[in-house]
Amino acid sequence: MPEAPAIRVAIVGNPNCGKTCLFNNLTGAHQHVGNWPGVTVERKTGVFRHGGRDYEVVDLPGTYSMSSYSIEEDVVEQCLTREPPEVIINIVDSSNLERHLFLTAQIIELGVPMILALNMMDEAAQHGVRIDTSALREMLGVPVVTLVARRNHGTRELLGALEQLVRAPHGSHVRLDYGAEVERTLPQIVAALPAAVIAVPARLRALLLLLNRPGCDADAQVLPFARAHRAGIERATRATLDNYLAGRWYGFANGCVRACVTQTPQVRFDLTEKLDNYLTHPVLGLLIFGVCMWLVFALVFTLSAPCTALIELALAQLSALAGHLLPAGVARDLVVDGIIAGVGGVIMFLPNILLLFLAIGFLEDSGYMARAAFVMDGIMHRLGLHGKSFIPMLIGFGCTVPAIMATRMLDSKRDRILTALLVPFMSCGARLPVYALFIGAFFAPRWQATVLLSIYLLGIFIAIIAANILGRILYRKDFTPLMMELPPYRLPTGRSVVLLMWTRAGMYLRKAGTLLLCAALVMWFLCTFPRATPQDGTPGTESAHSYADRFGRAIEPVLRPLGFDWKIGVGLTTGIVAKEAVVSTLMIVYGITETGTRTTTALQQRLRNDATFAHGPLTAYTLMVFVLLYVPCIATVAVFLREFKLGWTVFMVGYTTGTAWLVAWLVRQIGLLLGF
């Protein structure tokens, strides 16, 4: 007997109600979860096997209703109406059931077999909410299960219900009554519908048409007909149809809650409220946010130092070992100068990266993320954006790629583009190794965290200025007001924070092993060839004839005003591939020109001795500023191109690099004036 095809299951629910968490529980995947609305912005698919059947699970972005307002919600509507899954798991937050059932009422219309998963039962109990699940099952006509997805409780029961539902698929018996006017109209529109090309009930297609959102292109031809009816209904109900239907859905949700939920008043210590008094205070909140950021950077430096030293030691040993084992020649040079120096130089900063993501994981899981957006709303407002735009920017401190994806949660197109243009100025984790290298080389330990913070703050400052200018140029016809849910504070689970660190560490090492390795090999080649003929001059200047050297000298005039020489020019160029490559390239470039052990400490020593760094700290700072601001890595450019148009991408590349040059030049001039 041929294997039955996988059963398609979609997880649907409001933002931040635990969809991705459940998805991970079901599939054993490690998708990123966080305690803020909008972590998932695109559909993700995973598979699992249960009871001899294969299941394909689709994790969808959170949505408040089936009427889409932002791209992430559009993803849901598209998925559910254009290619309906076989089973829907509608996950809801039990502590706030009424609002979540609003969406359930709309999902019921799809006629797809559905399971209602009451998540966060633990928190509901704390709030004094008791839910009569059997009554709810009766009212909704669908299986109801309870979950605590965060602790992986209830997954087995859910699987049982799923198996049962698959064996005997049935939709809900509930047929929502939309009142005489609508009910009279729906059959008329149904009669006018073209032959079904989508597997959506005709009633829902008619309803969507009435709401001016045709479920498929063929249905669009009935739109004028539906529009005429809509006008009639609106006259009769004296309300816009959207509002009228919203009222009906709410009525249903409210009815369910009245019948099935008992809320006992709780006089208890509300931690979230107490914390919010301080953390979202207009002045204190900003202050606390600043201190938190500083602590993060202090942590990144102090805690990582011993680990970094250890890795460095290991790399030095490895380098020496390779030197012994391999015969002198091109092969040894390649391994020692190219691979170990280049890739090793990047791996050295793994502890910093891990700590940065540990901090970001805490930020996301605790629920503070949405608060930071709240606190920053005032400032963001002056930029013509609102606080929600700050979330992608915060994510940008980790990595620019997901940050640009995260702009999907913004409601207006203008806000999306503007935010995405600012995100590259948020210093990403990949730039950290570059800072770590130069700060370690040129600044006293007690200043290191502050210098690092200043770089990050400069990025924010430049973003503010850029937003001011771009905001004026960019059309501003649709200012959407801020509407954002603030999740309760939760203690991050060790599992999810470690998971984030682990995933990130994996990505970092993979990047080091592939992209950065290639870049290192290419750099080594370019730095080594063509080899200087022996009679050509003094030893140790081979690289002065190499391709890299020629290239570096060609672009040097552009970088000279910033105080950079050709070596830095080459480093910055490879930095376009990935920011860490600046470090690996400098390792190779400096490693080849001089002899000695190829470790970060040695490189830092050599940097200090280099004539280019005569104004040591100033040149280092200028360089960090340039690295902070100039064109983001290839991956970012690619995702930017995918999300926006080519024109915007070209603009982004040009304006970031232009800004980098200008600001770096200003920093250098001011620094020279002040006598650094």
Binding site: Y69, R99, P282, L482
Partner: protein
Amino acid sequence: MTATATPPSTTQEDYLETILCLSAEHPDGVQVNELAAALHVKPPSVVEMVTRLRAMELVTHAPRERVQLTARGLAAAQAVHARHTVLRRFFTDILRVSEEIAETDACKVEHTLHPETMARLRDFLEHAAADELERDHTVPLTLLHKGDCGILRRIAGGHGKTTRLAAMGIRIGCEIQVLQNSGAAPVMLKVGNARMAIGRGLATALHIAVVAAHA
């Protein structure tokens, strides 16, 4: 008497109404010239019409004397004026027509509507008036203080916002508690067990009937 049998014409009703309005300032009667100015007609026309109204026993008037409404005239004038008021309010309050247009349109329509239509309109406005009363007890969300509780009564402005807010659980009739409202920051609310941040611009459009003010 034939006069009682024939109801006043449109023009006659206008005259009666105008006399009534002007009587507010001149309790002892209205002069022909004043009446002519108010109705934008020439005094001889006024004299002609007043003579006819006197024949119908709706006004009293002697040459070079002031025009005064009789008891019947007063009743008729008040009826017209009441209809005018109802219509004008309907035009301005419900249809949101400008005062000027409402005034002239009310003048035109007041004579022609069927009594039943008028009665229905009056009923409808009475409900609206109840709403309006309530409206006076609501305040924009931004004026509430931290800890205040209230019921959302109205969302001013576009319906797009209303639907969006409803989907997030903020809908007409729901109970709202203000958690945070200061400076230029968004307003933080508690609706059900959820916390929401609402931009100040939008918060101004949410009209709340305060239930419990925080000490």
